[in-house]
Point group: C2
Chain length 398, copies 2
Amino acid sequence: MSLFRIERKAAGSEGRLGVLSTSHGHINTPAFVAVATRGTVRAADPCDLHAMGVQALIGNTYHLVLRPGAELLGEQGGLHGFSGWSGPWMTDSGGYQVFSLGAGKEHGVGKVASVFPGDKNPRPRGRSLVRLSERGAVFRSVLDGSWVTFTPESVIRAQRLLGADIVLPLDECTSPWHSREYTAQACARTHRWAERALAAWNEGGSQGPNPKQALYGIVQGGAYEDLRRRSARFIADLGFPGVAVGGSLGRSKEEMFQVLRWVSDELPDELPRHLLGIGSLEDVVEAVRQGMDTFDCAAPTRMARNGTLLVLTERRGRINIRSARFRRDREPVDPNCDCPVCSYHSRAFLHHLLRAGELTYYRLATLHNLRTMVRFMGSIRELLAAGRSPDRKELLPT
Amino acid sequence: MSLFRIERKAAGSEGRLGVLSTSHGHINTPAFVAVATRGTVRAADPCDLHAMGVQALIGNTYHLVLRPGAELLGEQGGLHGFSGWSGPWMTDSGGYQVFSLGAGKEHGVGKVASVFPGDKNPRPRGRSLVRLSERGAVFRSVLDGSWVTFTPESVIRAQRLLGADIVLPLDECTSPWHSREYTAQACARTHRWAERALAAWNEGGSQGPNPKQALYGIVQGGAYEDLRRRSARFIADLGFPGVAVGGSLGRSKEEMFQVLRWVSDELPDELPRHLLGIGSLEDVVEAVRQGMDTFDCAAPTRMARNGTLLVLTERRGRINIRSARFRRDREPVDPNCDCPVCSYHSRAFLHHLLRAGELTYYRLATLHNLRTMVRFMGSIRELLAAGRSPDRKELLPT
């Protein structure tokens, strides 16, 4: 059984309709993978996720190794056995934490520098909590401040125990503020780490609860064309069954989409492509057009908790339910949405729950935003199934 | 249609099996009424509550008048229309807040003084935020510190707008540390307020979303036999269709049950009896034996959020899921429980969620404790249906 099958390609873009097959179920792509950093999507449970149509979750090796621990998870049947989510799981390697607790802190940035519009220079957020060497990364634990070592080999061992269906090797993300020289060095190190991860993977056999895991490779190279193209070729040549695109995606949306174009261009069609940490509605449309298949992003669930609810027919595709204009609004959050929140509750009630700080709010908002992401991905797949490319103007209000 | 029908009386106690009929559904009694202070049970939604078998909710007039406001609730179809819970609603009057923000603060106590074992004297918790007069109570708003006036009449008007099926008049709760003299004065005032509430009720007709509300009377009198007996007779004579037992229940469990015995003794059988704010498993058994029909208590849901899960087979009927002994425990919280948490999740997973501070925890724990209360009340009703009195030794471990 091959991991990925392309069902149809779109006209006018690199977009493709596909199916990722894991031993815990199929994922119809393009798909949104919900973020379950510590083994659960915040405020939701597995029954909720099934009901919303979520297809797959992504956990985080760094956080899960710190708590409850890889050994414990292995004993408990891995993430599938422990969490109650028996559908497909992915796990990120902790590479992003190398970045977010390290250079990301020093440079004060995320994946795209322009999240702080107008910034021309790094805005430090604090001192690095990471020491990097050829051997691996040494982190400060966010729990107790103790030092924790991650190597390409230890991350593979941990992910065997976590048992996700799709796992990722340790990589080094770079910041949009890193120089070309540093980015090239980091990219070369990520490549050496990918080889070590693959060696550990191939020798280790199955020591965990899930004998049918797939190890994706990660493409790095920042927003530099030659580095990205070279990285894509290098990773594809190593024979990974799938590829993730990580690291800096430049200083603007335009740069981000260009990076995806370069990578797509170099990768063989048949490899499934995961875009790490990107998931706004407009970004997803464009990334699908550049040939990406799966996406994970904490934004839809985090925005929900902050009061931002996705409503495709509203300006910018969202409303802020905390706004006083919803105080007496008896309409559902989104009249076109089929989620239980929109079926049973008014905007006024959600506004009240959020204002009152009621825990009930966080789950309801999370369910609505997840359902909206799922419906949105469904609309994209419908277009692709008809051989059409998803179009931002058609799918989203201006 | 009469509000309350007794189906069967138990041998050997005052226990009775009954049905409370509201225009939003029946409540099989004895029943636990889940606390939804601000229009929602914390961390759960109406679908959850239906699924757990919860029969009725109780909101709080004081909190709901402050936010979102009685007028707004009236416009939104009352609590039924606003909250999505279309089953029976009760609303407490705010009388308990007169106490908990007033004398309760000054005396540092709740309903039973012995919640702080060994206390021989009041332990002040702060200054009173309430000014009481014959006219009513003036409160500090917990939201913005502004002064809010509650009178017996305004509380009736507000509850017409809230539209609960069973509503309560403003009363003055006393503390177990209040003197006999003060308790007698407060009780007399509560009686005058009950008459004013009834007058406002009878003249007002229906100005709210629910034309079929029932106004219960509240029996006060602290732990003084003559005061309690007189109050029960007085309230019953006013012709309320049901009665709630409020205020101080003494300084020990024994005193509490004695108070219930006195009240039961004086009340006509046919009046349904609600015990305000009491709901531990052992208290419920004994209160049913003393002839109580319904109970509300925040403890099962609050305990859930603090890590205390009800497990009838465990010592003291509970476990603390935060305890390290559950870190690797693959068993369900309660192997005898049919709730979704016990069906799909392990103690180890809940332990992890609570330790990690995941929002998902709070709902799962709440659902389990609610389901356990519901199942427990079901066991009590089964015994009563067989003509037997519920017995603590039979229903609970020692």
